[in-house]
């Protein structure tokens, strides 16, 4: 859906999206990385399980929620990437254990 202005990435780091290694750049948000993936979505809704992707990028829509390093319902547009970060797309309701 989206692409970087410059490829390859400078100072690339690796993060994991649903277990798969993905290149990212220090200083960018996790939501920005998700929007570059072939499957450019972040979660499915609790009510109808339909797919959602980052929409507002400024912290007011909550459609970019995903599980980050084991914590569910994290706003990925407000979360900057870090080496080795593990992102899981959030499926439906988040579980209480998270």
């Amino acid at each position: 859906m989206f692409r970087k202005l410059h490829e390859p990435l400078t100072e690339a780091i690796t993060i994991y999206v649903d277990g798969a290694p993905v290149a990212a750049e220090p200083g960018e948000s996790v939501a920005a990385v998700l929007l570059r993936q072939k499957e450019a979505w972040s979660r499915t809704t609790p009510v109808t399980q339909s797919r959602r992707a980052p929409y507002c990028l400024m912290g007011v829509c909550f459609d970019c929620l995903a599980k980050v390093d084991g914590v569910a319902s994290v706003q990925t547009c407000l979360t900057m990437v870090a080496p080795g970060m593990r992102i899981e797309r959030q499926q439906g309701k988040r579980s209480l254990s998270a």
Partner: protein, 465 residues
């Protein structure tokens, strides 16, 4: 519990300016912000990006943020980025989470500089992946150097789509077409306000410059677009639109960017019980403030676009002005000195505000923004349709809070930030009363999602009640 003279919420133009002035007057200042770096949305990532090639294509108004951020950094205010404010109560006690740790901050005065958000403008298919706001796309460009892969469709009204398209073209991106949703006759309606706006001639010329650049680049423009629909199953595949003249088209699309103006962020002032009033021209609530930006609640100030949309320059001025008054009220500055220092700031602010009646009239949202078709999801979080809201009206004369209780609209993680105004408008139309009388959701804590773990991390020594 940390205790400060002044808590500033938000590190955009208003919050940073307020911090600088408050510090100059000897206040002990804490600035919290949910973003990772200072600058707010307008100057997102400005410290790292302004001096780069990407910074150059974002333009002068963006680069100007670098000096403001530097002054803020040097001000001596304590700055805690990545902080989520999820409750604020009189006293003042602010409940904030940072790095998964919650705590209570006590402050004698508060400046809310929480800015604005893009006006929610629901249409069928607006929840599909691939639909984003124009502001979102611009943040992706600023923060991540990222642009739509394929030629992008842009639908909306106002200065931001024009600015973003010129930036996108400079960056090497492509625009499939611009669906201008500004209704017919708006320019004629706005013209009487033009003489008043001439003081801000520079900004008007800038806008005309963007239009000229788009024309030169051959961007296809469809005028007076009244309705749009994003079509697809798991993501956007097509975009359907209809003009006021009834001209319809379906085009293939992967990314659709939408924008129908911006509205003040009112959740924090509402949480503190600040009085707000309905603005007919901006079709939103605006906090009731005195000439210093102080709200109906003593010691609570609102500065920046949260005080009413006026842009970054006005935001900085309002930040300085509010901080002067806070310094007076906290006994660090005499009233006479504050008046003297505020005078030149006030005249600059007057010049900035002079442009607003013209812009607000020219870009007043099209009526369809507030009357989405029945099948449209209006509450993105709880997936409640416009039809469900309209059906409820048959039961009586519900207000937003009854609608919330019956349908869960407004109860999801966004806490009504995306559906609040739509619910207000749908009820106003169906019940034939003015939106200002219908009102808005009662804002309840938490303002942002909090985990049980974070709640449990609150210092046990604190009396929480």
């Amino acid at each position: 519990m940390s205790e400060v003279d002044l808590l500033i919420v938000g590190a955009g133009p208003a919050g940073m300016a307020a911090a600088v002035t408050a510090r100059q007057n000897g206040l002990d200042v804490l600035v919290i912000d949910d973003q990772p770096a200072p600058g707010g949305q307008i100057w997102r990532s400005v410290e790292t990006v302004a001096a780069t090639k990407r910074g150059a294509l974002l333009g002068e108004a963006y680069a100007a943020g670098q000096a403001s951020a530097a002054a803020f950094r040097a001000s001596g205010a304590v700055y805690e980025p990545g902080s989520q404010l999820w409750q604020i109560e009189p006293g003042f006690r602010a409940f904030v989470t940072r790095d998964r740790q919650a705590r209570v901050i006590k402050a004698r005065a508060v400046i809310l500089a929480t800015g604005a958000q893009e006006r929610p403008a629901p249409f069928p298919g607006w929840t599909l992946p691939g639909v984003l706001t124009v502001g979102a796309a611009q943040i992706l460009l600023k923060n991540a150097g990222e642009i739509p892969e394929k030629p992008v469709w842009i639908a909306g009204s106002g200065p931001l789509p024009l600015l973003y398209m010129t930036q996108l073209l400079k960056a090497g991106g492509r625009v499939a077409g611009y669906l201008d949703t500004t209704p017919k006759g708006r320019l004629m309606a706005a013209l009487p306000h033009l003489p008043g706006a001439l003081g801000a001639m520079g900004d008007l010329l800038k806008g005309l410059g963007w239009k000229a650049a788009l024309k030169r680049a051959g961007v296809p423009v469809v005028k007076h677009v009244a309705e749009i629909e994003a079509v697809g199953t798991d993501k956007v595949e097509q975009l359907r639109y209809r003009t006021a003249n009834g001209r319809e088209a379906i085009v293939s699309a992967e990314v659709v960017l939408v924008h129908e103006g911006v509205v003040p962020s009112i959740h924090p002032p509402l949480a503190l019980g600040c009085k707000v009033e309905w603005s007919d021209v901006q079709a939103c609530y605006v906090p009731v403030l005195d000439s210093w930006g102080e709200s109906s609640q003593d010691y609570v100030f609102v500065a920046g676009d949260g005080a009413g949309i006026a842009g970054a320059k006005a935001a900085e001025l309002r930040g300085h002005i509010a901080a002067l008054r806070a310094a007076v009220k906290l006994g660090r500055l005499g009233e006479g000195a504050a008046d003297e220092r505020a005078a030149p700031l006030r005249s600059s602010l007057g010049r900035e505000l002079a442009l607003r009646p013209f812009l607000d009239t020219l870009f007043a949202p099209r009526p369809q923004v507030f009357a989405p078709p029945d099948e449209t999801i209006v509450c993105r979080c709880e997936e409640v349709s416009a039809q469900e809201i309209r059906d409820l009206v048959k039961l009586g004369r519900p207000g937003p809070n009854q609608v919330k209780a019956f349908t869960r609209a407004g109860m999801g993680p966004c806490q009504g930030r995306q559906c609040g105004y739509t619910i207000t408008h749908i009820l106003a139309q169906a019940e034939n009363r003015p939106p200002g009388e219908v009102g808005f959701y009662r804002v309840r804590p938490p303002l942002k999602p909090v985990t049980l773990g974070e709640l449990a991390s609150l210092d046990q020594q604190e009396p929480v009640a």
